[in-house]
């Protein structure tokens, strides 16, 4: 219990009252410094599960707690602060803004960090880009980068506020095996730096890199293994 970071207990979720449950009576725990992989096929509900863990959505039934506190008791401001300082999100389709340069894309989360002044943006962004090996592309636009490079920029953006938890939703879904390996090597490095990582994937080989593996089938989650 001491290491519980985010826990789901009897959680169900449906997108509307009349629609079917996407998640049904789910129990799940993300531990501190864990590298958890959630394995499932398309449409099994794994992205929805990540949205609940990342506090993007709220469960329609059951309890979601963070460090033992029920999410429902948190104010909007507390949730916003958690997203700014503790969470980082990585998506399958990168979600970079094509109209912005790499620098501006990575700097965007800093807009909401009250402890970082604008004059320090360059240093922070540079550090995040160095972490993913993309510092030389700072003035490029996303459309001028390859898929693997775009995802590394997206990871740099997720890291720029030094979050403690990274949520990755099929981060290599649009990449070839070479670039996928680069990304997973990066995750290993981040985990080694005490970051908690929650990875969504449908690829068992990628899931094997994680400490713990969870299986999701038709909205029901089961614990698979721990290494």
């Amino acid at each position: 219990m001491k290491n519980h970071l985010i826990s789901l207990e009897g959680v169900s979720y449906s997108y509307s009252e009349s629609s079917e449950k996407v998640l049904d009576n789910v129990d799940f725990t993300l531990y501190k410094n864990d590298y958890a992989a959630i394995l499932g096929t398309s449409g099994s509900g794994k992205s929805t599960l990540l949205s609940l863990l990342g506090l993007i959505n709220q469960p329609t039934a059951g309890t979601c707690s963070i460090l033992g506190n029920d999410v429902r008791s948190l104010t909007d401001e507390s949730i916003s602060n958690l997203k700014t300082y503790e969470f980082g999100y990585i998506y399958q389709n990168f979600n970079l803004l094509n109209a912005f340069t790499v620098f501006d894309n990575v700097a965007m989360p800093l807009n909401y960090n009250k402890h970082v002044h604008r004059k320090d943006y360059a240093e922070k962004v540079d550090y995040a880009l160095k972490t993913v090996g993309m510092e030389q592309f700072c003035n490029r636009y996303p459309t001028q980068l390859s898929g693997g490079q775009q995802q590394r920029v997206a990871i740099a953006r997720a890291l720029v506020n030094s979050p403690s938890i990274l949520f990755a939703d099929e981060p290599t879904g649009n990449l070839d095996s070479k670039n996928s390996n680069i990304i997973y090597d990066l995750f290993n490095e981040l985990h080694a730096q005490n970051k908690t990582i929650c990875l969504i994937t449908h690829d068992k080989n990628h899931a094997k890199r994680a400490n713990s593996i969870w299986q999701i089938v038709d909205g029901k989650v089961s614990f698979e293994s721990r290494q």
Binding site: S47, L97, N98, D169
Partner: protein, 788 residues
């Protein structure tokens, strides 16, 4: 390279197939054609308003109404000044016109009634007025010694004289015999809009026919000649006139292109027309921008289609032809809808306008459609060109606006909100100014008041003054239980009856609207002010047989006697070379004789000593109805010659007078509501589009920890900034236009204008802000969908 005919057919068929079903397109079409049709309708109304067709005049270019104005009063120009002006150029002549009710009798036809007589100087040839019978040659500027001649109107000839042969026959007007020389054309009704004249007599004979009469404010004066020539002569002669007559210290000579309407009427109607034109212009700009914005959205989709067609092998020429055909079809549709909308709008706005379809109107309609077609064809092609040249095909769900696109979107939205704010402000100002006018005290209470006019057969051998009628008539009528009070008046309000005399102060200062005109002098019986419920501000009312007493209105008192006491207030009345002293015994509040927005003249009320037959009987009834039969029988009992010509409700006259203002208010309210509604719809859909295009950014920012409030501020603040900039610019522009170019409008924008404008801006900003907030919230609910 050639374009295949089957491709053209296919393009046209596909365009009709998909576009005619689009409700959005039809709504946009209707929205853009309403102001177009309205602007044309206002233009048409203006043309009809200044059109002198009632006088059978085809060419207005050679006649210019001239009047003299000071800071408060517009009045006709005296003959002496007009003579000075025409002495400067042989090609200029002046015309004076005055209409009066006078007794008319024709012995051979046993005709003996009161009729409307117009005294008109001449110029028929220049004005293009040709008689239907006889000749108008002897009516062209005759000299005083010439034979007394007259022309009768076609209406009078047909209805009263049964189209008999009347040429060269004598006609008796006010006891003077004249010879009929012509029958005017059937199109001629009067030299004044809204009147129906029976007889026209040369102005030179006015004094012969009605006795020694001075120049009156209800006379209209014109200069015949080319406008530019006349205008330069008037401008050149002004310094000379200043020296000669010492009248131009604060006075100015003005020329207007209006025939048969008083300068006051022309100015007040022009104000309303200018206001309408301004509002419709705003509406047109607003709707044009909205329509172009709509088309830009449509063209985004079209760009994709063109790209696809290019990939399927379409040449550049074929794509260009397709663009041209599609814009031509849309322009054609707009011109057709406008053509349909125009008569609808015209009848809605000007419900009293005659909408007879003539070949002239059909030609105008076709010309108007062609102009709209060409204009929109050019606009649509410009937009299409700019779109294809500078803007990439549409932005998808997972993209975001570039800075320039964001600027464009915000600038467009700011413009729309700015114009909405301006239009709402203008319409509110118009409503307030018209509401203030409706609150103006008329100086009498109209409810249950009736004006009875007599078709008096005033045989000159048996004048009513011989029989003490002014005393007996009200007394006898007041005996009737349903009548509270009765009085006689020579010039009751809201009628075209006028009477004038020359008055001076004991110091010799001429009393009147201006130094040149005589004074409005109304003859009344003692209970007139009680009957009209007009407040007596000082002193007492007129009393029976006190013929040397007079009552004056507030304007006259303030102009000539301010600060004095009634005991020392006298006026002198000039009659030939003699003058008689009258004592002012009371001051009454101003009666608005022509409505609340007309100029207030000094008025002298004197005791009626005789009944000439043209007076009105003012009846204050105890009920909402007046028993005409009963009134008629009482009148016949007094004198068997009395015959009622008409009975008018004063309340109805007030309503009729206020109708134009009410129409204006109603119209501005409708426009304000229409603009507000379309603005809300436009803002809502446009903001939804902006937020949709920003959806990825909004979702990402929310995952970075941006709260709803922060996101709202981040998105809405630049928009509000632009909105404030655009609105301020529009306000300053409007203020400049109003102060420098358009002062003559039915608005008073300067009193508390900025505060009201600011309030409207704040309200619109709050509404827009709420729409933004709501759309951001909806987007946040779908944040994960946008990202995963």
């Amino acid at each position: 390279m050639k374009v295949d005919n089957s491709l053209l057919t296919d393009i046209i068929a596909v365009w009709f197939k998909y576009n005619l079903k689009k409700i959005q397109l039809w709504v946009a079409l209707v929205l853009v054609t309403i102001p177009l049709a309205s602007v044309i309708a206002v233009y048409e109304f203006e043309q009809r308003f200044v059109s002198p067709s009632f006088a059978a005049i085809n060419d207005l270019t050679s006649v210019n109404q001239i009047y003299i104005s000071d800071s408060s009063v517009n009045s006709p120009v005296d003959e002496v000044i007009l003579n000075e002006i025409i002495n400067e150029s042989d090609s200029i002549k002046y015309i004076s016109e005055r209409s009066l009710n006078l007794p008319i009798s024709i012995a051979n036809w046993n005709y003996d009634e009161v009729g409307l007589v117009s005294f008109f100087s001449g110029g028929y040839k220049s004005l293009g007025i040709s008689p239907s019978r006889g000749s108008l040659k002897s009516m062209e500027f005759p000299h005083k010694g010439n034979d007394l001649v007259a022309a009768i109107t076609h209406h009078f000839w047909v209805n009263s004289l049964k189209s008999a042969d009347v040429l060269s026959k004598p006609i008796n007007v006010n006891g003077k015999t004249l010879r009929i020389v012509a029958v005017l054309p059937p199109e001629f009704t009067s030299f004044r809009k809204g009147n129906r004249v029976d007889i026209v007599i040369p102005y030179t004979f006015k004094n012969t026919v009605i006795g020694n009469d001075t120049f009156t404010p209800d006379t209209l004066t014109y200069l015949l000649g080319d406008y530019h020539h006349v205008n330069s002569i008037v401008e050149d002669i002004t310094p000379k006139l200043q020296e000669l007559f010492f009248i131009f210290d604060d006075n100015k000579l003005n020329l207007i292109n209006a025939f048969g309407i008083t300068p006051d009427e022309y100015i007040s109607t022009s104000k309303r027309i200018n206001l309408l034109r301004f509002i419709f212009l705003l509406l047109l700009i607003y709707c044009l921008i909205a329509f172009i914005a709509f088309e830009i959205g449509e063209m985004n989709t079209k760009q994709k289609e063109y790209e696809l067609r290019r990939m399927c092998g379409a040449s550049r020429l074929e794509i260009t032809v397709q663009r041209l055909i599609e814009s031509a079809l849309l322009s054609f549709l707009i011109s057709i809808v406008s053509l349909v909308m125009k008569p609808l709008i015209t009848s809605l706005i000007f419900d009293d306008l005659d909408l007879e379809i003539t070949s002239f109107l059909i030609i105008i309609g076709l010309f108007y459609s062609l102009v709209i077609f060409i204009t929109f064809f050019l606009i649509l092609n410009c937009v299409s060109f700019v779109q294809s040249k500078y803007i990439q095909p549409s932005l998808g769900r997972s993209d975001s606006l570039t800075k320039s696109e964001r600027f464009q979107a915000y600038a467009l939205l700011s413009k729309m909100i700015g114009i909405t704010v301006l239009t709402v402000f203008v319409t509110l100002s118009a409503i307030i100014s018209q509401y203030q006018l409706s609150k103006v005290n008329y100086g009498f209470k109209a409810n249950q008041k009736w004006l009875v006019d007599l078709a008096t057969v005033n045989n000159t051998n048996q004048r009513f003054e011989l029989s003490n009628i002014p005393q007996i008539l009200p007394f006898e009528l007041a005996k009737e239980q349903s009548i509270r009070s009765v009085a006689l008046s020579s010039a009751p309000p809201l009628t075209n009856k006028r009477s004038y005399s020359e008055w001076f102060t004991v110091e010799g200062v001429s009393v009147g609207a201006t130094k040149q005109t005589s004074t409005a002098t109304h003859r009344v019986t003692p209970p007139y002010f009680d009957t009209m419920e007009t407040r007596l501000l000082m002193g007492k009312s007129l009393a029976i047989k006190q013929y040397e007493h007079i009552v004056v209105n507030q304007t006259l008192w303030n102009k000539y006697f301010r600060g004095k006491s009634l005991s020392e207030a006298f006026l002198l009345r000039k009659s030939g070379s003699n003058s008689k002293k009258y004592k002012i015994v009371g001051v009454v509040e101003d009666i608005k004789y022509e409505g609340p927005d007309s100029t207030q003249f000094p008025v002298v009320y004197e005791l009626m000593w005789a009944l000439s037959g043209f007076e009105s009987i003012v009846i204050d009834s105890a009920s909402n109805e007046l028993d005409e039969e009963k009134v008629s029988s009482i009148l016949r009992a007094i004198d068997s010659n009395f015959k009622i010509k008409s009975i008018n409700s004063l309340e109805q006259l007030v309503d009729d007078e206020a109708r134009a203002r009410k129409q204006l208010v109603l119209l501005t309210v409708i426009i304000a509501i229409a603009i507000l509604c379309s603005s809300l719809i436009f803002c809502s859909s446009y903001i939804a589009q902006i937020i949709r295009k920003l959806s990825l950014e909004v979702s990402l920012r929310s995952t970075f920890g941006a709260s709803k409030r922060k996101l709202f501020i981040q998105i809405c603040a630049p928009f509000l900034f632009w909105c404030a900039v655009v609105s301020s610019f529009l306000y300053l522009t409007m203020k400049f236009i109003y102060q420098n170019l358009w002062h003559n409008s039915a608005l008073n924008l300067m009193e508390g204008g900025a505060l009201m404008y600011g309030t409207v801006f704040v309200v619109m900003s709050i509404i827009t802000g709420l729409i933004f907030y709501y759309k951001v919230e909806i987007n946040l609910r779908k944040a994960w969908d946008n990202l995963s």
